[in-house]
């Protein structure tokens, strides 16, 4: 037992002390925080105010109609042909010409600018003109401005899940989908990544011939298990670092923006904070935040760590068996596909599970040990009955025990086999060799 600990310690320390481990551990939270913070930052940034000259031949607009925080309008009364060559020289960023018959000829509006006009400027100008034109047309059709205002409602639905016992929880299916997709993808990538790390570790020990020295001190299954657990703990450490750092960083930037927003509220009568809320809600992270608020975060995090670790143990024991049978990573390719197929299949099934998390296929995909790590994590944000989660976890542990038993039998023979082209038939025979 003590010797397994030594093996775990070596596998863990040699990896955790590498620079690349720390770079990836630190970089990922920074990137995630950036995805979260940049839309807010953009929304809160003081925008550059642009000066726009407007030639209104229709005389529909009053100065109060042209309020925009990014644009300052000045009415001019010069001819369009003359002024379009002068506006830049007079310090305007753009020149808008509205024809007298704009109500019947909405395409007659021209926007001149010296530089290529920004899309947002074009949209702002168009929106202001369009609102007024629609309002006028409604008025002419006999609809009062008040009625028009009252019809401008935004629909923002709230989805609510009602459990069998009648408890209501807010849910956002878009957010759940994003969260599910992200967790599924992370599991997919990490299962492959850490699994192949184990395989390469086994190949390294075999090809540099230290294996025989080691297994004269420890039993092969101890070495295999020690290596798998050691590498797995590296993965867990990385996830914990990611989670802690991401939460820490987002909390920090959240507080930072909140204090800024408060200052902005005082200055702008609440405009900025509305913008910020809106930016947060519109960004994908906002949707995820909504789900996170309505779901059991500790349950999701703990389940994620569980499914990563045990799912990883299952797959990496198979990777270890493959590593033991070959002498180089290129030679391993003929066998790795058989382990990669269930991982890729899980990921494909997860796309389906995400669409319909309570379907029969999704249920079975989240129960069968090979596909359950990814598929159960994809289902979890949508809500899963406790018994299903428990059964799936127990099955996964049993699956791991079965796989590691098979793998250990191949491993103990494979690590001492040199200069032999290994076939599937050969591998099957090793299962039945006597110690």
């Amino acid at each position: 037992m003590n010797k397994i600990l030594l093996v775990i310690q070596r596998e863990y320390m040699t990896r955790v002390l590498k620079k690349s481990f720390w770079i990836s551990s630190l970089l990922a939270p920074v990137l995630i925080t950036a995805i979260y913070a940049i839309p807010i930052w953009l929304a809160m940034k003081d925008k550059e105010v642009k000066k726009v000259a407007i030639l209104d031949q229709s005389h529909l607009w009053k100065a109060s109609d042209l309020q925009d925080k990014e644009l300052v309008f000045t009415f001019v009364s010069k001819s369009e042909t003359a002024f379009k060559t002068q506006f830049a020289a007079e310090g305007y960023d753009a020149f808008v010409s509205v024809p007298g018959d704009v109500l019947t000829n909405p395409k007659g509006v021209h926007i001149y600018s010296s530089k290529n006009i920004g899309l947002s400027l074009k949209e702002s100008v168009e929106r202001l003109i369009q609102n007024k034109v629609r309002q006028e047309l409604m008025y002419k059709a006999g609809i009062s401005a008040k009625v028009y205002e009252d019809t401008q409602v935004d629909i923002d639905s709230e989805t609510i899940t009602i459990s069998e016992s009648g408890d209501e929880t807010n849910s956002s299916s878009a957010g759940a989908m994003i969260l599910a997709g992200v967790m599924g993808l992370i599991l997919y990538v990490t299962l492959l990544l850490y699994g192949s790390q184990v395989m390469n570790g086994v190949i390294e020990e075999k090809s540099n011939r230290i294996i025989e020295v080691i297994i004269s001190s420890v039993k092969p299954y101890q070495l295999m298990l020690g290596k798998i657990i050691g590498v797995g703990l590296v993965g867990l450490t990385q996830f914990v670092l990611w989670i802690v750092l991401t939460i820490g960083l987002t909390q920090f930037t959240g507080k930072f923006y909140a204090s800024k927003a408060k200052a902005a509220v005082e200055l702008n009568q609440g405009k900025a904070s509305v913008d910020m809320d809106k930016a947060m809600q519109d960004s994908p992270m906002g949707e995820v935040t909504k789900v996170l608020e309505s779901t059991n975060i500790p349950l999701i995090l703990l389940s994620f760590l569980f499914y990563f670790f045990v799912g990883y143990l299952l797959y990496s024991s198979l990777f270890a068996a493959i590593g033991s049978a070959v002498e180089s990573p290129t030679e391993a390719q003929q066998f790795t596909f058989i382990v990669m197929i269930p991982i890729i299949l899980s990921f494909l099934l997860a796309q389906y599970t995400m669409q319909d998390p309570d379907s029969t296929i999704a249920f079975w995909a989240s129960m069968i040990p090979f596909t359950s790590p990814i598929n159960m994590m994809v289902r979890l944000p949508y809500g899963v009955p406790v018994w299903e989660l428990a059964v799936s976890m127990v099955l996964l542990v049993l699956g791991f025990l079965a796989c590691s038993w098979l793998s250990a039998r191949i491993y103990r023979v494979g690590i001492l086999m040199y200069g032999k082209k290994v076939t599937w038939k050969e591998l099957a025979k090793w299962l039945f060799y006597q110690g």
Binding site: K3, L6, V7, R10, T14, E204, E205, N208, R209, I210, I211, E212, V213, I214, I215, S216, S217, V218, K219, L416, Y418, K429, Q434, G435
Partner: protein
């Protein structure tokens, strides 16, 4: 006896690796395990080191049936040996010593002694990748002996060693023997057998075909031949065959029952004898003879 191997059998799917192998290895000797490639030496060593198990038969280590815990009292240097390339030398040796059941602090003290003794202190923090092949061999040797095993198993220890390292290794093996370590080493290099071994066993085709004390084995293979140097004319002598003779050197075979003194008195009647030496068969000759006989 430190190691008793009794009727050990090992079968693989396609061939028999060991058939009824029995060996007794006394404490404190250097025991040579000889045999051609594929005879079963490595299979036997892997059973003693418990890397694999025997299909039948028993093994006693220091009087007890061989158990997993005995692995800590055995040091094993395999024929194909390696190290973790990216690990530092000191760290790696600490790891290997701890795997043999040593405490970290204890291993550190013992390793420092070895590093001072072999004058390699500056290697401690070097990654193995930066070491030359000879340096790696020294490192591997330290890893094999640092836990002061009762039984040291060396599989072809001299293969790949340059003459200087081979000499160092020889001296260290003899020093370990002085301190009571039993050494089992397998080799095809017969000159190292003659130099180092006290006892030998020859394995061919999965069976022990010859074993015993080194000089006793040599005596068994003596052909009653003697070399002489002389001046004069060598004619026919009763009960003595001239195997070869040229320019004052000859090899003679004495008939059964003829004593050396009688033979000499007969020879000196004919020639002026300058030198007289009994021909003891070399292990190389014995090896080839026995292997050929058992192959036939």
């Amino acid at each position: 006896m430190l190691l008793s191997i009794r009727q050990v059998e090992k079968h693989y799917a396609e061939h028999v690796a060991l058939r009824g192998v029995s060996l007794e290895i006394p404490k404190g000797v250097i025991f040579g395990l000889l045999g051609p490639n594929g005879a079963g030496k490595t299979s036997l060593i892997r059973i003693i080191t418990q890397i694999t198990g025997p299909d039948a038969g028993e093994i006693y280590f220091d009087g007890e049936p061989l158990r997993l815990e005995h692995a800590d009292q055995i040091g094993y240097l395999p024929e194909e040996r390696g190290l973790y390339k990216k690990m530092k030398v000191g760290e790696q040796l600490l790891y290997l010593a701890q795997l043999k059941g040593m405490k970290r602090e204890e291993a550190l003290i013992k390793l420092k002694d070895w590093f001072i003794r072999l004058d390699i202190k500056e290697w401690w923090n070097k990654p193995v990748n930066d070491l030359s092949k000879g340096m790696q061999q020294k490192t591997q040797f330290i890893a094999t002996v640092v836990h002061e095993p009762k039984l040291l198993i060396l599989d072809e220890p001299f293969s790949g060693f340059d003459p200087i390292n081979a000499n160092m290794l020889k001296d260290e093996i003899l020093a370990l023997k002085e301190r009571g370590t039993t050494v089992l080493f397998s080799t095809h290099r017969m000159e190292s057998v003659e130099e180092l071994c006290d006892e030998i066993a020859l394995i061919n085709h999965a069976e022990v075909v010859l074993s015993g004390n080194k000089s006793e084995v040599q005596n068994r293979f003596k052909k009653n031949q003697f070399a002489i140097r002389f001046t004069g004319e060598l004619g026919t002598i009763a009960d003595i065959d001239v195997v070869s003779s040229q320019q004052g050197n000859a090899i003679l075979r004495f008939a059964e029952g003829l004593s050396t003194n009688d033979a000499i008195s007969r020879i000196i009647k004919q020639v002026n004898l300058l030198e007289f030496k009994e021909l003891i068969p070399s292990f190389n000759e014995i090896f080839i003879q026995v292997v050929n006989e058992t192959n036939a």
